[in-house]
Symmetry: C2
Subunit: 596 residues, 2 copies
C-alpha cells in the first residue's frame, strides 16, 4: 500500500490561480498569509498528514471505535494523533485571534483540511465538526459562552458536535422532539439524538454538544426549534471542569465505512435533564444551525475531493507497478505495466480530471468566503456571499458524487485486488459513500440549489456567473491551440446551463415538483459547467506559466492535458442533461404511486 | 427489512414479449417448455428464493465462510439450503437430459437464476460456477469424463469451480505458471491459484476443479495453456468417492462483499502433485475455458440485474414507509412518505428503468442462445450465435454497471439509514461491486466488444442489429401517442451508435489504442441504445395488451411509463457518448506517463 502524499504543487497552483491567493492576502486581517507562510503551512501539513494520520487510517478502519461501559475508545493511535494535532496548533488556524486562533484565510484552512481528510477521513471528521461548532458559537453565542468555551475549542482541547437528527427527524428537522425546559438561566435537556459523529470519545477533555430541542411552549414545526450548548462536563467559573453532565452515548452504529469515527446514539437527561445553555434566541435554532451546516457542507464536499485524490494516487501507483498483458498496437509482446493500457489510462485520467475539477470548485468557493468576510467593499462582499451561497450545494453534492465515482473507479483499476480489503481501495469507497448523504443528502442540496439559491432570487447570481463564464471565451481565443480547443465545448456547456436555468425558472413557479424532479441533473450540469470553466482558467494560467518559463513544465503540461480531457469527456454531457432535467422529471412526478 | 419477492409478472412479460418464449418452445427439444410449465417453475422458484435463500442472505454476510483446520465451513444455513436446492432439482433444469438434466431453454434457466442471485448472491455463485463447469465438460470433455462426472454435477451433488487466476496471471492468462506433468493417462498438477470462488466448502460431497496449467514442453504464452479436471476426491470406477486428491484451500480472502461465498487460495500438489485429467487437447485450454467464461459472463451480467431488482424493491418499500417532510407544491403541510417527494420518485424510477432495461437485454441474449442451439435453420442459428457473441460483453458490463449504480442509488434513497449495515442496502452495494470485476473486468469486456466482436468482422453483426432496430420506428409511428413519443430519442440513439461504430471501424485498424481508450463509452452507448430499443419494444407490446384487455392494466401502464422514462433520461446521453468515445480516448493515449 502506498502512502498518501499531499499534492502540494497542485494545491499551491489552485490557490494562486483560482483562489487568487495574492488578492486574498491583501484583504484586511489576512496580511500575514504571505507566500512563504502558505508554503510553510502546506509543507508541514503535508508531513503531518503522511506521517501521523495516514499510518493509522487502515488500522482504524479494521479496529473501529469501541463502546465499553459507557466509554467510547477511539481506535489505536487516534488519541495520540489528536494530541499531536492540538499541539501542532492545527485546530485553530482559521479561527479568530481573539480566542487564540491564527486568523488565516478560510481557503488555506480548506487546503490543509483536504490533507486531513485524504490521509484519514474518520479522524478528520472530529476537527470538521469542531470547526462548524466554533463558527456557530462565534457568530451566535453570547459573549459569556464564547469566552467560556471558544478558547479551549480553538486550541482543540475540547471538541464540538452537531446534535440534530432524531429517529423521526432526519432531513425534516421540524419533527425534532428533544425537550428543553427553562430552569433559571439554563435549560434542562431531555431526549435522544442519533447519528452523532464523534459524539463521545476519549481524545479530548471535554465535548461541546450543540443540540436542537423544543421548549414546552414552542410553536409547532421548524419555528419552534431552539439551539443549546450542552457540555459533556460542566465548566466552572475558573474554567476548570466540573461535574459530568446528564448525557451519554448509549450505542455506536455499525456502518459501511468511516469505522474509526464513532457514530453515536446520544441520550440526554436520563437522570432528570442535561444542563444546556441557549445559543441565539429561543425558537430561532435553525437559523443558527445553518451557519454550522453551511460550513459542514463545504467540508463534506471537500471530503469528496480528498478521497478522490487519495483514490487516484493509490490507483496510479498500482497501475505503474502491476504488470499484465502486452500493450495493444504497440508491436511489443511483453506484458506491460497496466498504466500503459488505453482503458486504464482513460480511467486514471478520468479520476485525475474529476479530482482537479472538484478541487478547483472547492477552493474557489472557499476563497469567495474570504472575500465575502473581509473585502472592504460592501457590494463586493455581498456578491461574493451570494456566489458562495449558490455554489455551496454544488460543491457539496457534485464533489461528493465525484469522490464516490473516483473511489469506485479506483477499485476498478485494481481489478480483483480492488475487492480485497487489505488493498485499501475498497475502504476509500466505503468511507466516501457517506459524503453524498450526511449534512443534507445530495438530493436536498439539489433542492436547495433550485429553490433557495436560484428560483427565489429569479436566477440573479447564476445569471451573473453565466455572464462571467462567457467572458473567458475571449481569453481562450487568444490562447495556444491546445488550450483554445476547449472553447467550443465550454461554450456549448454554458449555453446548456443557461437553457436549463431558463427552464428551471419557468417551471419552478408553476410546477415546483416537476422542477424538483429535475434538480439533481440540474445540479450535475452546474457542477460540470462551472468545473469546466475553472479547469479552462487553470489551463490558461498553465499555458501562460509555460510561456513564461514559470514553474514546473511537466506539471503545467499535465494541467492543460487534464483540462482538455475534462472538456472533451464531461462537457459533452451538458446538452443531454438539459433534456434529462426537463423531461425525465415530468415522468417521475406523473407516474402513479402504485406503478412502482 | 423487506423480503425479496421474485417479480414474476415482469419476468413472464419479458419472456413472452422480448425472449419470444412461444417461438422458443416450438424449437426441437424445447417442446416441454409450455406456458403452464413455465408458470409453475417461476412460481416454485420464487417461493424457494423468498423462503429459503433470502432469509440467510444478511446472516451469511455477517458470518461469512470460515476456514478452520483446512475445512471451509459455509455460513449457517447454507449447507441446508444447498441440500434443498439439490433435492428440488434446480441445479440441472437446463442441462442435457442424457445426464439427468431437464433440458429446458437457457432463458428459463436465466430467469430462475436471477431469483437465486437476487435472494442471495453469495449462495448463487456456487451453482453459477457449477453451471459453467458443466457446460464446459459437456462441450469439451471425453465421454469417459462426462459419464463419470456430469451426472453428479447435474444433480448438484458435486459442484464445480474455475481455477484460472494466479498472482501474476489475472486478466493475462498467458502468464499461467501452474505446472502439469504427464503421468500415464493422467497428469500431476502443481501450483497455486487465487480468487477461486467456492473453491472449498462443506455443502457438497465432491468439488470438480477445472484448472488451467502448463505442460513442461508447452509453447510460451496463451497457446501453451491446457485445461484439466482435478477432483477434490478421486472417483472410483463404480462412481463412489476414493482418496482425497492432493489439493487444499490455504486461505480465504477478506472481501468488500459476497462474504458468504468463500474466495479461496488453492494449493495444488503440495504432496507431489494433484491428479488431473486433460479436458480437450493439450495446449488448447483457453478455447475450452472460453465456453465457461462466456456462460459465466452472461451470469455475472444477470447478477447485476438481480441485485438491481433487490435494491429497487428494498428502496421502494422503504420509501413507502418512511415519512419525512411535506410534499413541495402540494399545499399540504403534513410530512409525507418520501416516495411522494419528486427526487425520491426520480431515483426510484431511475432504478426501475435501469433494472428493467438490463433484464430485457439479459433475457434477450439468453433467448438468442436457445435459437443458436436449437433452431433447425443453420443460417438462423449462425446469426443468433453472432448476436449472442456481440452482446455478451454488453450484457456483462452494462448490466453489472447498472447493478452497482442501482445499488448505490438504493443506499441514497435510505438516507442516513443506508449507511448503517443493519438496513441491508449497503450489503447490496458491497456484494454487487465485484460484478464489474470478475469474469473479465468491464474494461476487458469493452475491449472484447470493439475488437473480437465488432472490428474483426468489420461490424457485420452490429450493423445488422442497427438495421433491425431502425425497423421498429414504423411500429412506433403507428402506436398510441404515449409510446410513439419515444421515436425521436430512439432514432437519435441509433444514429449515434451508427456514427460511433463508423468511428470505431475507422480507428481500430490504424490506431487500436485510441479505439481501446474509447471502448468503455462505446460499450455504454451500445447498452443504452439496445436497452432503449428493447424497452420501446416492451412498451409497444404493453400498449397492445392494454388495447386488447390482455393482462394487468397497471403493470402495462407501468411498463410504458418506465420505457418512456428510459427514453427520456438515458437515450439523451447517446450523442455525448459518441464524442466522449472519440475524443477523450485520444487524450488518454497521448498524455505522457509521467504527467499522471
Amino acid at each position: 500500500m502506498s502512502t498518501y502524499v499531499a499534492p502540494v504543487e497542485e494545491m499551491r497552483f489552485v490557490l494562486d490561480e483560482l483562489a487568487e491567493m495574492e488578492t486574498l492576502s491583501s484583504l484586511p486581517g489576512y496580511e500575514e498569509a504571505t507566500t512563504d507562510l502558505v508554503d510553510a503551512i502546506l509543507e508541514e501539513a503535508g508531513k503531518f498528514a503522511s506521517g501521523v494520520l495516514d499510518p493509522i487510517n487502515a488500522s482504524g478502519d479494521r479496529e473501529g471505535a469501541k463502546l465499553e461501559n459507557g466509554v467510547v475508545r477511539a481506535a489505536s493511535g487516534f488519541a495520540d494523533a489528536y494530541q499531536q494535532f492540538v499541539e501542532g496548533g492545527w485546530n485553530g488556524i482559521c479561527m479568530e485571534p481573539d480566542f487564540g486562533g491564527q486568523g488565516l484565510p478560510a481557503v488555506l484552512g480548506t487546503t490543509v483540511q483536504e490533507m486531513w481528510a485524504a490521509s484519514n477521513m474518520a479522524f478528520e471528521l472530529c476537527p470538521l465538526l469542531s470547526k462548524g461548532a466554533m463558527e456557530l458559537l462565534s457568530e451566535h453565542a453570547s459573549d459569556d459562552l464564547k469566552s467560556a468555551y471558544l478558547p479551549k475549542m480553538v486550541s482543540g482541547e475540547w471538541t464540538g458536535t452537531m446534535n440534530l437528527t432524531e429517529p423521526q427527524a432526519g432531513s425534516d428537522l421540524a419533527q425534532v422532539k428533544t425537550r428543553a425546559v427553562r430552569d433559571g438561566d439554563t435549560y434542562r435537556i431531555t431526549g435522544q439524538k442519533i447519528f452523532i459523529t464523534w459524539g463521545e470519545h476519549d481524545m479530548a477533555e471535554n465535548i461541546v454538544h450543540l443540540v436542537l430541542a423544543r421548549l414546552p411552549d414552542a410553536p409547532p414545526g421548524i419555528k419552534g426549534v431552539s439551539l443549546f450548548l450542552v457540555p459533556k462536563f460542566m465548566v466552572n467559573e475558573d474554567g476548570s471542569l466540573g461535574d459530568r453532565n446528564d448525557l451519554r452515548c448509549v450505542s455506536l452504529e455499525h456502518k459501511l465505512g468511516i469505522n474509526a469515527s464513532p457514530t453515536c446514539v446520544m441520550s440526554f437527561g436520563d437522570d432528570g435533564g442535561a444542563t444546556g445553555y441557549l445559543v441565539g434566541q429561543e425558537n430561532a435554532g435553525i437559523a443558527c444551525m445553518f451557519t454550522m451546516m453551511n460550513s459542514a457542507r463545504l467540508s463534506v464536499g471537500l471530503e469528496g475531493v480528498a478521497m478522490a485524490e487519495r483514490a487516484y494516487q493509490r490507483a496510479r501507483d498500482y497501475a505503474k507497478e502491476r504488470v499484465q498483458s502486452p500493450v495493444l498496437g504497440s508491436g511489443d509482446s511483453a506484458p506491460a505495466p497496466i498504466i500503459r493500457h488505453a482503458d486504464v489510462r482513460r480511467m486514471l485520467l478520468t479520476m485525475k480530471a474529476q479530482t482537479e475539477a472538484s478541487r478547483a470548485l472547492s477552493y474557489f468557493v472557499s476563497s469567495r468566503q474570504d472575500v465575502a468576510r473581509r473585502h472592504p467593499d460592501a457590494e463586493t462582499r455581498q456578491a461574493a456571499g451570494a456566489l458562495v451561497a449558490l455554489l455551496t450545494p454544488v460543491a457539496k453534492a457534485w464533489s461528493s458524487d465525484i469522490g464516490i465515482d473516483v473511489a469506485n473507479t479506483g477499485v476498478q483499476v485494481h481489478g480483483g485486488m480492488g475487492f480485497i480489503e487489505e488493498t485499501g481501495a475498497a475502504q476509500h469507497l466505503r468511507d466516501v459513500r457517506i459524503t453524498a448523504i450526511y449534512e443534507g443528502t445530495n438530493g436536498i442540496q439539489a433542492n436547495d440549489l433550485i429553490g433557495r439559491k436560484v428560483a427565489r432570487e429569479n436566477g440573479v447570481t447564476i445569471k451573473a456567473l453565466i455572464a462571467r463564464m462567457r467572458e473567458l471565451d475571449g481569453d481562450l481565443a487568444k490562447a495556444p491551440e491546445q488550450v483554445a480547443t476547449m472553447r467550443n465545448n465550454l461554450s456549448r456547456g454554458i449555453s446548456a446551463l443557461e437553457k436549463a436555468t431558463d427552464w428551471l425558472l419557468a417551471t419552478y413557479a408553476s410546477e415546483p415538483a416537476r422542477a424538483a424532479a429535475g434538480s439533481v441533473p440540474y445540479l450535475r450540469l452546474t457542477g460540470i459547467v462551472v468545473g469546466g470553466w475553472l479547469m479552462a482558467r487553470a489551463a490558461l494560467a498553465a499555458a501562460e506559466r509555460l510561456a513564461n518559463g514559470d514553474g514546473n513544465p511537466a506539471f503545467m503540461q499535465g494541467k492543460i492535458a487534464t483540462a482538455r480531457f475534462f472538456a472533451d469527456t464531461y462537457l459533452p454531457e451538458a446538452e443531454g442533461l438539459v433534456e434529462i432535467a426537463a423531461t425525465g422529471g415530468a415522468m417521475a412526478v406523473d407516474i402513479a404511486e402504485d406503478l412502482f
